[in-house]
């Protein structure tokens, strides 16, 4: 039986892994997986469109679609984090709470990345810190950034500078050349061609002066979820336009497989918690008490409020000029799901 062979690029994600490993298979499709750091994945996909199916930055996807990117997304969101709780500050900055960030220097890997979009949106809407009152620093160079591919220019009225090439977010924060930086992403220290914090680590600095902006991440996570009713998404998966037009059935088949892969993982979740945590079951119960039994919902329906918020934030941050309809962003056969 013939199957359509599709190269597939993604970071390791426990909810996608059964699909990448072949434990769960998409109907009529053979997936050839490439594991990749998201920053490299998005550069390769936005610039060279190397893979028929790939993980994609939600923020860069909105921007690139407005500029005619020939890809279509699936409402599959296996990667969610509380991005604003990944910010750290230097204790000499005088910052004590999120509101104190006004007037300060804040560093992000990339201005248009989804993590930074959420950080700006949440600081503005939940803590009253306008994006215009903060001095933004970006680590990635124009050549090696997603914005370089999608034609990024700093939105009007934004104070924007780049981190010098011989420095990194980590080294500038620890030396108090930045007041705040998003240095707690789980990806930051993984080697990749775009970021520098894994090479220029600032290891000789005094890290005891670097503190979490939200010292109680669990409490802040609960506050955020109780207010917004979702956990922020940064990535989805996209199909290249040529493949989608030629084989429109690929979208639904793949979506179903992503759902199955997530269910497969969820069924094994308790057993996959390392026994080194000792109270794994209790912790899982606590997480479910905070965020419900499925903090990673797929589909358009279950994510409408999240998608509207993401589009609102992108638009009000000047990253896109008009708000797209949600139905334009996702493969037609998946928009009722």
């Amino acid at each position: 039986m013939a199957k359509l062979k599709l190269n597939f690029i993604s970071a390791f994600n426990e909810r996608v892994e059964p699909l990448m490993q072949g434990i769960v298979q998409a109907e009529a499709i053979e997936i050839v997986p490439t594991y990749s750091h998201p920053s490299e994945t998005f550069l390769r996909q936005l610039r060279d469109m190397e893979f028929p199916v790939g993980e994609m930055s939600m923020s860069s996807y909105l921007i690139a679609r407005e500029r005619g990117l020939d890809m279509i997304a699936l409402p599959v969101f296996p990667s969610r984090r509380l991005f604003h709780t990944e910010l750290s500050y230097h204790s000499d900055s005088g910052i004590k709470k999120p509101q104190d960030i006004a007037g300060k220097r804040i560093g992000v890997s990339e201005y248009q990345q989804t993590a930074a979009l959420w950080q700006r949106g949440i600081l503005e809407h939940d803590f009253g810190v306008s994006q215009y009152k903060v001095h933004w620093y970006m680590e990635r160079t124009e050549d090696m950034s997603h914005g370089g591919v999608t034609g990024f220019t700093p939105p009007e009225g934004i104070s924007f500078q780049r981190v010098p090439a011989d420095k990194s977010l980590a080294s500038m924060l620890v030396n108090h050349e930045l007041d705040v930086a998003a240095i707690n992403s789980p990806w930051k220290n993984a080697p990749n061609q775009l970021g520098r914090s894994h090479q220029i680590t600032g290891a000789d600095g005094d890290w005891s002066k670097v503190k979490l902006l939200f010292p109680d991440r669990v409490a802040e996570g609960k506050r955020f979820f109780d207010k917004w009713r979702f956990l922020p998404v940064n990535h989805a998966y996209t199909i290249r336009g040529d493949i989608y037009r030629k084989h429109p059935w690929v979208a639904f088949n793949l979506y179903s497989a992503f759902v199955k892969a997530k269910e497969h993982f969820n069924a094994k979740l308790v057993d996959s918690i390392p026994s080194g945590l000792f109270f794994g079951k209790e912790y899982l119960t606590k997480t479910q008490e905070l965020f419900g039994s499925d903090p990673f919902p797929y589909g358009v329906k279950a994510n409408r409020h999240l998608l509207e918020t993401l589009i609102d934030f992108s638009h009000e941050q000047g990253l896109i000029t008009k708000k797209p309809k949600i139905e334009e962003l996702f493969a037609a056969s998946t928009t009722d799901l």
């Binding site: 669990v218 057993d271 918690i273 390392p274 080194g276 000792f278 109270f279 899982l284 997480t287 905070l290």
Partner: protein, 336 residues
């Protein structure tokens, strides 16, 4: 150089896995790993001695050694649990707290298993419930049990019965033919040839079965504060003939276990599923409650634990005297 090829049987354990999958190598040794349910592992090893290196029940090892079994242990203890918190009761039993177990029917997979040893010891010493005040029920049959291999007889004065062959721990607790059972073990409901709960699931309402310690973390913290360790159920043993033929092996293997554990510790944070969202915070909580290394290896770090388990074994009538550490572990590991 010829390598020593050794059959090695163990359950999956994240602290041993690097040794089983070859990430960590032991000089001069090639391990051929067999993954196995502990119930089957111990039965096979106690009865047939098939493997040169094996995971072993601490309690059955104490019993077997007291009878002169030809095997020697390594002080590698990667498997620890709070066994008392794995007890569940039927709501119709009238039980509300551990002290209420007096006079009740309590079911375990096997009377002499290490989990049951700790249950009895902790109920007696921490909650004042004597082993003689409980009616003990055991699921495994004589042929298919570790006790069958080590000549188990119920200790004098113990109220002991077997669960009928057409029933299981699960089916009897559900039917309230037991008041309490050790059914929340991660292993007891998993299919294996010794335990019957996976085959005889029983009828009834699991919502009527409640954990004896509803707050496992609080009870875990209490236990750790009082005793200073987490209970161990398994160690690893080398078969006596291999140990005598290659006395260097014990030290080398122990070192491999230590390196494998270090490897797991390094990976721990990254191995926590992102579905927990707060994996790092939860790990920090665990460390606050039970320390940075809840799985210490070596004799020195486990003195109190070993003294307790050998004492419990003796006072429960499983061993005729309190076994000494020196008779249990390979000589080259006694200073670890």
């Amino acid at each position: 150089m010829e390598q020593l090829t050794l059959g090695f049987i163990s359950a999956f354990n994240e602290r041993v896995e690097p040794l089983m999958n070859g990430t960590i190598e032991v000089e001069g040794v090639e391990l051929i790993p067999t993954y196995s349910h502990p119930a089957e592992t111990f039965w096979r090893q106690l009865k047939f001695g098939e493997f040169e290196v094996a995971e072993m029940s601490m309690s059955s090892f104490l019993i077997a050694r007291s009878q002169g079994a030809d095997m020697i242990a390594l002080p590698a203890f990667p498997s620890r649990r709070l066994f008392q918190t794995e007890l569940s009761y039927h709501v119709d039993s009238g039980i509300e707290k551990p002290q209420d177990l007096v006079g009740k029917r309590l079911g375990v997979a096997e009377y002499q298993q290490t989990a049951a040893l700790w249950l009895r010891g902790i109920l007696e010493h921490d909650f004042g419930v004597s082993q003689y005040q409980i009616h003990w029920y055991m699921e495994r049959s004589e042929e298919m049990s570790h006790g069958g291999a080590t000549g188990f007889k119920p200790p004098p004065g113990i109220s002991f019965q077997r669960i009928a062959g057409n029933k299981s721990l699960a089916s009897t607790i559900l039917a309230n033919e037991l008041d309490v059972a050790h059914v929340s073990s991660p292993w007891v409901l998993q299919a294996n040839t010794l335990d019957r709960s996976s085959r005889i699931a029983g009828k009834g309402d699991w919502s009527q079965i409640k954990p004896l310690f509803p707050d496992r973390m609080a009870e875990g913290a209490r236990f750790y504060r009082q005793h200073g360790f987490l209970p161990v159920n398994h160690a690893y043993i080398i078969r006596g003939d291999i140990h005598r033929q290659h006395p260097w092996l014990a030290g080398k293997l122990y070192d491999g276990f230590v390196r494998a554990k270090a490897c797991a510790q390094d990976r721990l944070a990254a191995q926590i599923p992102t579905a927990l969202i707060f994996g790092q915070e939860y790990l920090a909580t665990t460390r606050e409650l039970i320390g940075d290394d809840p799985y210490p290896f070596g004799i020195k770090a486990n003195r109190a634990m070993l003294d307790t388990i050998t004492r419990y074994s003796h006072e429960q009538g499983l061993t005729p005297r309190q076994m000494k550490v020196e008779e249990l572990f390979a000589e080259s590991t006694l200073d670890t």
